[in-house]
Symmetry: C2
Subunit: 201 residues, 2 copies
DNA sequence: CTAAACATGTAAAGCGTTACATGATTCG
DNA sequence: CGAATCATGTAACGCTTTACATGTTTAG
């Protein structure tokens, strides 16, 4: 159900075609909530049939067409309801930590590879979050630009602060994952050291 | 696909009926990878038809029956392949951080509620992870008990170390989430303070 | 005898992934 | 005229959730 609100958030700032929305999505909210095109187009149709948005059919050239979506009153209300409702947390289901619990069944090399890959993966994410934060702060971020143009000046600081806050959380989480993977590598070294303490002497 | 390996991990230690497995699951791996009964029974059937486990039909009393599952050679190999294979990370899709990015659209009260609930949720999780770690270290943990009985003494330290490591990662993540929520509350206070600095004087 | 625990599922719906599929327009 | 970009989807499959559905055995 979150995709719907991520899309609504972008459309609330101003009408967009499915294609524009999809492009904008990929370089903004898509960092926090990934969705491929093949999910976005059908979801827009469903949102229209649910009365949250209306599609305005436009022509492009001779035969080209595109559908530009506008948020309805109902859509705006739904968005605010979502933004104000208590969150429902889903049950824990974490592939990486499940794997970690069974690292004893892996070879030393595989365990090491797992941990270095985990650190690498989260370093990459961390880079992305830090980039996003810099772009938001500098006003380059496309979502923030559109958003800031649409709201009174007083509220801009607030809008920027919450966007930065959200990405900060993801960055801090990535940092925690990196530290954890490094602890795991230390654990591997310690276990390897204990395994053959006599033969080493 | 992880459920299958979580189940295989438990069965590898010794045969269990679907019911026993389901109970044991809930108080062990289920903390890391939640799955309801209604998912476990069908998955066992699928695993059997895929040749990873075999079901041995037993009777209980007059009419009662139960199916006890054993891991096949194929199942054991599959498990090791899983434990040694590189992880595939799925795209980011995080409801809480998506919501945080749009906290500007929420009322101050709703934002505060969201953040306190987030902290509360992760404090609860943290308590659970810390509990699990204590139970693993003390040898009370049912999964670890069964597991330790099945492996040579030298490898026990290794097995315990990795279990603790996995839960430590979850605990550290929970701590990061709590810190983040607290930063968010500070942000709210700061924004509230700036909003009406003159009327306060 | 009755409640708790044992025991095992089916059905429907929603969400997400991956692969497939097609065509128009604009810019160089 | 060819490539990039614009533009919009369908189909199949798998995982997860939620609700429903049923019956047996054992301990008190």
């Amino acid at each position: 159900m979150s995709l719907r609100y991520a899309l609504l958030a972008l459309l609330r700032v101003g009408p967009l075609s499915g294609y524009e929305l999809q492009k904008l999505f990929a370089e903004s909210v898509g960092h926090v909530w990934h969705a491929p095109d093949s999910q976005i187009y059908p979801e827009l149709k469903r949102m229209e049939s649910d009365g949250l948005i209306t599609g305005e059919e436009q022509t492009r050239g001779q035969r080209g067409r595109r559908r530009v979506y506008h948020v309805t009153d109902r859509g705006g209300e739904d968005f605010f309801a979502w933004a104000n409702a208590p969150m429902e947390y889903s049950r824990v289901r974490d592939p990486a930590h499940l794997r970690a619990a069974y690292l004893e069944s892996a070879s030393d090399d595989a365990a090491r590879d797992f941990l270095t890959a985990h650190a690498r993966h989260h370093r990459e994410l961390l880079r992305r979050w830090r980039d996003e934060i810099a772009r938001i702060r500098s006003g380059e971020h496309p979502m923030v630009q559109r958003r800031l143009a649409a709201i009174p000046e007083q509220e801009r600081e607030r809008a920027v602060a919450f966007k930065v806050f959200a990405y900060e959380g993801l960055a801090q989480r990535a940092e925690a994952e990196i530290r954890w993977a490094e602890q795991g590598l230390q654990l591997l070294n310690r276990l390897a050291g204990e395994e053959a303490p006599v033969t080493a002497g």
